[in-house]
């Protein structure tokens, strides 16, 4: 289990580079993500959680330090190149799916994440039975709407589809960026449960940003807190199980009080 998949070593990310307002967002951050880790990520607004995800995902260039995948540096790779090992679900349901394309077409796109796409027929019909099967595991009627443009789906269905698309082709690292935050409480909980099931069943390695302390405690085997551009708290296993909301709040207050 303690086989590192992704390592961040001494990672620095600045914004407004070479201007008077240059600010360091990630301050020599170190993090080792092990195979099978389901890490919940906490931190106040502006602490650097999203920047951490963007640095891992390649949306933001890192200014120093390195990112290693299975020991090999990937910090120089583009966002598109990194999709061969990484997938992501965004907070905004609009960002994760192509609105004018149908559910099945979106799934087909996701199935080839990070692969070459050539002038070969897409074979949508052949994929339909498989798509029907996997969408029905989301328990929200998505399997009935395979031929519906995703723009016509509810936010909950769209986000469930985004999650499904991110895990359809198994990623080495899955990044969930508050993927249930834009949904109503009931839908949000339902998606959180299916998320947990799928991650556990498929033994996925995942980082999940959340603002719900109870979600952060309930799910995952490890919990980290990002504060002021560094990881200031990191518990896993039994220590995480023993953690309570009160203790966590105490910790937060110590830091920000």
């Amino acid at each position: 289990m303690s086989n590192p998949i992704l390592e961040l070593r001494d990672v620095v990310v600045n914004v407004n580079q070479n201007t008077a307002e240059q600010i360091m967002i990630l301050k020599h951050l170190n993090l080792t993500i092990n195979d099978g880790d389901f890490i919940t990520v906490l931190g106040s607004n502006g602490a650097g959680k999203s920047t951490l995800f963007n640095a891992i995902g390649g949306n933001l260039p890192i200014d120093s330090g390195d990112i290693l995948l299975h020991g090999k540096p990937v910090g120089h790779e583009s966002e598109e190149q990194r999709t061969r090992f990484l997938s992501r679900v965004f907070q905004d349901p609009k960002l994760g799916t192509a609105p004018r394309m149908t559910v099945a077409e979106n799934l087909l796109l996701a199935e080839k994440r990070g692969q070459r796409r050539g002038l070969v027929p897409r074979h949508l019909k052949q994929a339909m039975p498989h798509f029907k099967e996997i969408t029905s595991t989301m328990n929200n009627g998505l399997e009935q709407r395979l031929n519906t443009p995703t723009g016509n789906l509810s936010g909950g269905q769209r986000q469930a589809l985004s999650f499904l698309m991110a895990t359809l082709k198994r990623p080495d690292i899955l990044l969930l960026d508050e993927h249930t935050a834009a949904l109503d409480p009931k839908t949000s909980q339902q998606l959180m449960r299916t998320t947990n099931e799928r991650i556990t069943d498929q033994h996925l390695t995942c980082l999940m940003i959340t603002h719900h302390l109870d979600d952060a405690l309930t799910y995952g085997n490890r919990l980290i807190v990002v504060n002021d551009g560094q990881i200031t708290f990191d518990v896993s296993g039994d220590a995480k199980k023993a953690l309570t909301q009160d203790k966590l709040l105490e910790f937060f207050n110590d830091f920000e009080g």
Binding site: G57, E79, E80, Q81, T83, R84, S87, R88, F90, K94, L95, G96, T97, A98, P99, R100, M101, E105, L108, L109, A110, K112, R113, G114, Q115, R117, G118, L119, V120, P121, R122, L124, M165
Partner: protein
């Protein structure tokens, strides 16, 4: 009168190439590409100049496709790598194309008088007047539409559609969206260059100013098709573009019959397109009036 109708169909089919080309950028990639105003006359110029040099008309038409692709490549590179806004990138290439077109032709106007063209191929030559352009246009449009339908259903085509639909998602799935945009601009402008070659062969000459306003004509065929036929699948929409192009020719015919001169055509084209594009606004206004009316009656 029937002759004029047949001529309109022929014109509509030949000009439909522009609509199909522009559809790729305007509707799928979702941005307006001004390059076409330079690509269209460049396709015409390259084709007519080549035929005058003794090149086979079919080869000369393919050459027009090639120079069109180069224009698209230029715009694509300025837009994606040079980070110039697409509208300006298109205008830059369109403006540059004007000088290049004069270079290609050596003057402002080049005729095809007594030269071979696709319309003088043996099997077309024997047809009654205007039926040659209908037949040629039909062949080109059917082939082009089938190729586009096939392309859009491939893995690459789907990645291309996704780029226009949700770029952020496309990138997060590993689609190289810059390359998709460049490819789209190249294919689109290639088709429009071919359109220029066909129109020039049909008209019998190429003129350096023949590009002015062609984007309006191309948009008109797309929008008229959409307004007339409403909700359609992607494949049906491609066919609607051609039908829209033919309908547009009939609108022009009608307008000329009403007594307007050909000098007024560009003004009228813009008015027709503007009206079509404002249709949703008119419908909303109309609905609001109904709602107000209903509101009033409910309180009575």
């Amino acid at each position: 009168m029937i002759g004029l109708g047949v001529s309109a169909v022929g014109q509509g089919l030949l000009w439909a190439t522009l609509g199909l080309g522009l559809f790729l950028t305007f509707r799928i990639l979702d941005f307006p590409d001004m390059t076409v105003e330079g690509t269209f006359p460049m396709g015409a110029a390259a084709c007519v100049a080549a035929i005058n040099q003794g090149v086979d008309p079919l080869l000369a038409s393919l050459l027009a496709f090639g120079v069109g692709m180069l224009c698209g490549l230029a715009t694509g590179l300025l837009y994606t790598k040079g980070k110039i806004p697409i509208l300006l990138a298109g205008i830059l290439v369109m403006t540059a194309a004007y000088s290049i077109n004069l270079r290609i032709m050596g003057r402002a106007n080049l005729t095809l008088l007594n030269k071979p063209t696709l319309l003088k191929l043996p099997f077309l030559k024997s047809m009654p007047m205007y039926f040659d352009s209908v037949t040629l246009g039909m062949i080109i449009i059917v082939v082009l539409t089938l190729l586009l339908v096939y392309f859009l259903q491939t893995d690459l085509g789907q990645a291309f559609i996704a780029t226009g639909d949700n770029e952020k998602m496309a990138r997060s799935l590993g689609i190289r969206t810059d390359n998709m945009k460049i490819m789209g601009l190249m294919v689109s402008n290639g088709i429009i260059g071919l359109g220029g070659a066909l129109v020039a062969q049909n008209d019998g000459y190429a003129d350096v100013s023949m590009g002015i306003g062609v984007i309006v004509i191309a948009l008109a065929s797309i929008i008229i098709g959409e307004v007339v036929f409403g909700e359609l699948t992607l494949n049906q929409r491609l066919i609607a573009v051609t039908l829209g192009s033919i309908l547009y020719r009939f609108v022009l015919l009608l307008v000329l019959k009403l007594g307007f001169s050909t000098n007024d055509l560009k003004l009228l084209s813009s008015v027709v397109l503007a009206l079509c594009m404002m249709l949703p606004v008119f419908q909303r206004l109309f609905n609001i009036k109904k709602v107000i009316k209903r509101g009033v009656t409910a309180h009575e």
